[in-house]
């Protein structure tokens, strides 16, 4: 059986493509950087897509706003409609939200707004925890609801919100919020710093209804090596990190790979 190919879509200003390719490779997938200068139609040759983090088009107008209008995203939307997986990480998530690929309708129903933090403003980078929620997302398939993953966040505009009253709550009810910010012990909290940006429903990610498109604000590709976990990370992953460092195996598999492994499982089964 041939290895599934994943297109890592790089718009100008994106800067997490290399580590994304490495994470996909460690999950047993063949990843290829697909630059914005290529013909959009060539994207159809891939079985899945990843939009990495960074600052596409320098965040001009609004984070993700210009990339969302790119002809490549029209192709992505068509392929997502056919069921192919699309994962947007950080700036990639902003593109998916601005393009209306999540939560589903093709209309823009959400925003990733500026972080809202007490006595702080702007960009915020730190390790946080996310809890796996019951959902139909293929990117958390195989993970147990309640599982806690430590992941880093690094963004200025990561607050999932909607002007439509109750929209985020309805997404939670329909299983379209597969990851929520939580404490090290797995308790979901709406306040800072557990929720690092003030996202409604403590949403760290929003999926489409079909579960094949995911807009994810934390960076799993930066948590692929156990040795990369910060010393502040608590719980079982801290123990694993300490053991990996003790045996000089800092590249041992970290918590972020769980999402890439789920994608790999899905592609092998489908």
């Amino acid at each position: 059986m041939s290895v599934a190919r994943v297109g890592v879509v790089q718009f100008p200003g994106v800067n997490c493509e290399a580590e994304s390719v490495r994470a996909l490779g460690r999950a047993g997938l063949e990843a290829e950087i697909f630059r914005w200068t290529r013909r959009a139609a060539e994207l159809r040759d891939f079985q899945a897509y990843l939009l990495p983090g960074g600052f596409s088009y320098q965040d001009r107008v609004r984070a993700g706003a210009l990339a969302a209008k790119d002809p490549l995203v029209d192709v992505l939307a068509g392929e997502a409609e056919r069921g192919k997986p699309v994962l947007g990480i950080c700036n990639g998530a902003q593109v998916l939200v601005e393009a209306g690929l999540v939560p589903d309708s093709g209309r823009v129903e959400l925003a990733l707004a500026r972080n809202r933090m007490p006595d702080r403003d702007g960009y915020y980078a730190r390790w946080i925890y996310v809890r796996i929620e019951p959902s139909g997302s293929l990117f958390t398939r195989g993970l147990t609801p309640g599982d806690v993953l430590p992941l880093p966040v690094a963004h200025g505009e990561g607050r999932f919100t909607s002007a439509t009253a109750g929209r985020m709550a309805s997404l939670l009810a329909t299983g379209q919020i597969p990851l929520r910010y939580c404490s090290a012990h797995g308790e979901v909290e709406s306040g800072f710093p557990v929720n690092p940006n003030g996202a409604e429903q403590a949403a760290a990610a929003v999926s489409n209804a079909r579960g094949n498109v995911l807009a994810l604000m934390p960076h799993p590709e930066r948590a692929q090596d156990l040795g990369a976990l910060a010393r502040c990370v608590a719980g079982p992953w801290d123990e694993r990190r300490a053991q990996a460092i003790a045996r000089r195996d800092v590249d041992a598999r970290g918590p972020g790979l769980a999402l890439f492994d789920a994608l790999s499982r899905h592609l092998k089964e489908s």
Partner: protein, 194 residues
């Protein structure tokens, strides 16, 4: 020095071509049906300062002095004391104001002002997009994001959009409130103020 709560506007624009406006114009024309007749697009930062404010000369000096407001080496600033003052817009331009809902206040600028003048003011900032539309193109269709091929400048789920019909209001972002005077006043009159 005149006292009492009022609002002024600082319209700030890059002296060079603004890369954001250049990109927005290019993408809008290429990708949005509503932008086919978009002739020109400029971006200005609109800053509103509300509170007990000094006169024009001192205001101009305060705004000029701090990077919290603008960089005089790269940007020009037009001060508007009220609706009677002109806005730096061409006669055929229409303006769409976009600002973050609940996030338009500029705390650092307010702290700077308090430090320099001893007065409590409210500082708000948004982006004023000046557009020259031809053939009756609808400004709102171009500004308000509804989908991949509809709208660009304002995501209504986190941002406010205000369109000026005729006269540009002042204030435009927030109503004039009654900010408290600083507990510890340290008035510093810039030299040469009238």
């Amino acid at each position: 020095m005149p006292r009492g709560s009022k609002t002024i506007q600082a319209w700030v624009e890059l002296m060079s071509d603004d890369p954001e406006a250049v990109s927005a114009l290019a993408v809008a024309r290429a990708r949005l049906p509503a932008a086919r007749d978009l002739g020109q697009l400029r971006r200005l930062r609109l800053i509103e300062v509300s509170g007990p404010l000094p006169g024009r000369r001192q205001l101009e000096e305060l705004l000029h002095r701090s990077i919290q407001f603008y960089n005089p080496h790269k940007e020009r600033c037009t001060l508007r004391m009220g609706v009677a003052d002109p806005v730096p817009l061409g006669g055929s331009e229409r303006v769409a104001l976009v600002f973050e809902r609940g996030g338009e206040r500029r705390a650092a600028a307010e702290r700077w002002w308090r430090h320099e003048t001893g007065e409590e003011v409210e500082v708000r900032e948004g982006v004023a997009w000046a557009l020259r539309l031809e053939n009756g193109a609808a400004l709102e269709d171009l500004a308000l994001v509804r989908g991949r091929h509809h709208g660009l400048l304002c995501n209504p789920h986190s941002q406010e959009l205000r369109l000026a019909v005729g006269e540009v209001p002042c204030p435009w972002m927030g109503a004039v409130s009654e900010p408290k005077r600083a507990a510890r006043k340290r008035p510093k009159s810039p030299k040469g103020d009238a």
